[in-house]
């Protein structure tokens, strides 16, 4: 599969000036990030708050320009496209964004019809009013809001969180995108409805071949949506491990991924074991401000050694890419949390 979007060696540095002390501080939010999203693929980007996952989403959608590094869309650097006009417009049209807070993302004084019409009338000028109406009906049907008439004349506050999130998906789909960046789309939705939104996204991926970059802190939802696809695990602005979702969950190799997966509770009292030890040395996360050259996880890593202070070159094992200098010292996950790993199963 061809890569649709590629990030090459992307770095992002934010600076901040204090209120009282006029000294500038620098935060190295992303460091040497390499990421590609291929056509028709779902990539789940996992990380804790503050690890830079939303920043990546904003860079991929072109809302933020990275400090250094290259971002290409279908092989072309998007920041050299700007001069070309038309091609840059295409990129903006084909890469769409779905935000976390569906209430904030919709204009409260516009009806759903108005919100959905706006991007279509801007980008498809040749369509007549009837054709636009038809297209909108089709979109609502696609995201499971039936019958469309029931929703079109409503305002955002009259819909539930799950329905609003579907409207956002419909709006993103209205320009026939090739990639949708979804930033925590289910974290503000009721638990019983989360799965239906995730299911809708994976259905859309299969039917329309839209790629998704699914940004989340919740590995379990990532597993659900990207089961046969890729997971990218981030920690403090660096990609720690990347590979097939079910393989990573069954057998994480990076010490951080191992700690993360062993911390996730199992919703079954049969396997519950609160007394298990987490494979981690310290609970405190380091600050982005004082980042060294080496592995950001090394101060918390139980297997860290002197080589972790140097620049770390990712190791590629099959499809898996792991950024760890002491892989040989890291024990297999089955010895850390034995007994509970069950894999397999496909979506219905």
């Amino acid at each position: 599969m061809k890569p649709l979007i590629e990030l090459k060696d992307v770095n992002m540095v934010f600076s901040k000036r204090g209120t009282f002390i006029r000294e500038e501080k620098f935060f190295h939010v992303l460091k040497n990030v390499d990421l590609d999203i291929r056509e028709g693929e779902i990539v789940a980007l996992i990380g804790e708050s503050g690890c830079g996952k939303t920043t990546i989403g904003r860079i991929v959608t072109g809302l933020l320009k990275p400090t250094s590094g290259e971002i290409t869309y279908e092989g072309k650097n998007i920041y050299s496209l700007i001069k070309l006009g038309k091609e840059f417009d295409d990129y903006r049209r084909f890469v769409q964004f779905v935000q976390q807070d569906s209430y904030a993302a919709l204009n409260p004084v516009r009806t759903i019809r108005q919100s959905l019409e706006a991007p279509i009338t801007t980008h498809y000028r040749h369509l007549t009013r009837d054709e636009i109406g038809e297209k909108i009906d089709g979109l609502l049907d696609l995201v499971g809001l039936n019958p469309p008439d029931q929703f079109l004349s409503k305002y955002p506050h009259q819909l539930s969180g799950g329905q609003r999130q579907r409207i956002l998906l419909a709006r993103a789909l209205s320009l026939d995108p090739k990639l949708i960046v979804a930033d925590e789309p289910v974290s503000m939705i009721d638990v019983s409805l989360r799965l239906s939104i995730l299911k809708l996204m994976s259905d859309l991926n299969r039917r329309l071949k839209v790629s998704f970059l699914y940004i989340t802190h919740d590995l379990a939802t990532a597993r659900y949506i990207a089961d046969q696809n890729r997971i990218v695990v981030m920690y403090l602005g660096e990609i720690m491990e990347e590979g097939n979702a079910s393989e990573i969950i069954a057998d994480p190799r990076h010490p951080y991924t191992q700690a993360l997966i062993s911390a996730i509770p199992i919703p079954d009292p049969e396997f519950a074991d609160l007394d298990r030890e987490l494979p981690i040395k310290s609970m405190e996360m380091q600050s982005l401000e004082h980042r060294g050259r080496g592995c950001p996880f090394s101060p918390r890593c139980p297997y860290a050694g002197p080589e972790c202070a140097d620049e770390i070159v990712p190791v590629t094992v099959g499809e898996r890419r792991i950024r760890c200098a002491r892989l040989a010292q890291v024990p297999a996950f089955s010895t850390i949390r034995p007994g509970v790993i069950r894999t397999g199963g496909t979506k219905p």
Binding site: E48, S49, S160, G162, Q163, D190, V191, S192, L193, R194, L195, S196, L198, K199, H217, D218, L219, A220, T221, R223, Y224, D227, I249, A259, L260, I261, A263, I264, P265, I266, P267, D268, P269, E270, F271, A272, D273, L274, D275, L278, I280, M283, E284, M285, V340, I341, R342, G344, G345, T346, K347, P348
Partner: protein, 331 residues
């Protein structure tokens, strides 16, 4: 099993101008002494309202309409609703304390950690010399901060904004233990925290439960946490208690279709992806609750009877389920 607090047929109403909202309808629940009880439910299911009523601190216009909330931690049973203001003030935090969802907004930003601990301690210890009480408060603060694995000497003199989210929540936990309560209410204590910190916080809480015998009431929507942490689970939906029982029974016996649906709709790292499925429909609007069983519009097993008749509580031993199906297939 001994109870610490018993709720008997409690109904709570928010008297809004247009139409009142019944956030809790006829809930009876016993919180077991020395055990961890969890209340799970989606937003709007009434779990926070229920917890606030235990401290008699419902936000206006909410009020307990009927029922009894009996605290059994004193020599004689005491109805929280009938306590005089003085009795209530010593009951709050000394008998029942609470760890709030957002630790940053629960701590006073203009005071150091130690100052807050001392302030609360002094208010509850008006007798004796102030100087002695202060020294006692400080000693207690150091002991508790150490207990939740914080470097007391350093943390004590810090302001809340200097602490990370996980540290603030641990300070809050230590703070809630200050007066040696018999019950701790934990309102979504880890929602804003990452998974690794979450696991760590629950470990500390479990240790508190074992070491001091403090009973706990955990409010959460995270089924995974419940399975690991709680001894008993109550499942709330639309202001009603749908199921209650030991964690094992509720997860394994699958009596109530809502609990079953909630468990099935929670993505997990270990169960088969094919077995996960969402609950159709959406949570009920408390202003216009469905007739009969509140869950019937979303229930895959609903019958004509569920639409008209509200199910009674069916219980076997400690396990209770509010579902018509129980009548036919009582084990």
């Amino acid at each position: 099993m001994d109870s610490l607090i018993e709720l008997k047929n409690v109904s709570i109403v928010y008297r809004l101008k247009k139409n009142p909202i019944r956030a809790i309808a006829n809930v009876s629940l016993a919180i077991r002494k020395g055990k961890i009880t969890a209340l799970v439910g989606e937003s709007g299911s009434g779990k926070s309202t229920l917890a606030a009523s235990l401290l008699e601190c419902l936000s206006t216009p909410g009020e307990v309409e009927s029922g009894e909330i009996v605290y059994l931690g004193y020599d004689a049973p005491a109805d929280v609703r009938k306590m005089a203001i003085g009795a209530l003030n010593s009951y709050r935090w000394k008998e029942v304390s609470m760890v709030f969802q957002g630790a940053q907004s629960a701590l006073n930003p203009t005071m150091t950690v130690l100052e807050q601990f001392i302030e609360t301690y002094l208010v509850h210890h008006p007798e004796g010399r102030k100087k002695d009480n202060k020294a006692a408060a400080k000693a207690k603060t150091v002991e508790l901060l150490d207990y939740v694995n914080l470097d007391a000497a350093r943390i004590m003199s810090m302001y809340p904004h200097e602490l990370s989210g996980g540290m603030k929540q641990r300070v809050m936990i230590a703070f809630s233990l200050l007066l040696g309560p018999k019950l701790m209410i934990l309102d979504e204590p880890t929602t804003a925290l990452d998974v690794i910190t979450q696991g760590y916080i629950f470990k500390i809480l479990k240790r508190i439960n074992r070491d001091f015998g403090v009973s706990m009431l955990l409010l959460t929507h995270d089924i995974g946490v419940v399975a690991e942490f709680a001894d008993y689970v109550g499942v709330m939906y639309g202001g009603k208690l749908m199921e209650f029982g030991t964690t094992w029974d509720v997860f394994k016996l699958k009596w109530h279709p809502y609990s079953e649906g909630l468990i099935r709709s929670t993505p997990s790292l270990y169960s088969d992806v094919a077995s996960m499925s969402p609950i159709p429909g959406s949570p009920p609007d408390l202003r216009a609750l469905p007739s009969g069983c509140v869950f019937h519009p979303r229930c895959p097993k609903a019958t004509a009877r569920c639409r008209v008749e509200e199910p009674a509580d069916h219980s076997v031993g400690e396990h209770l389920s509010k579902c018509h199906l129980m009548e036919e297939s009582k084990p």
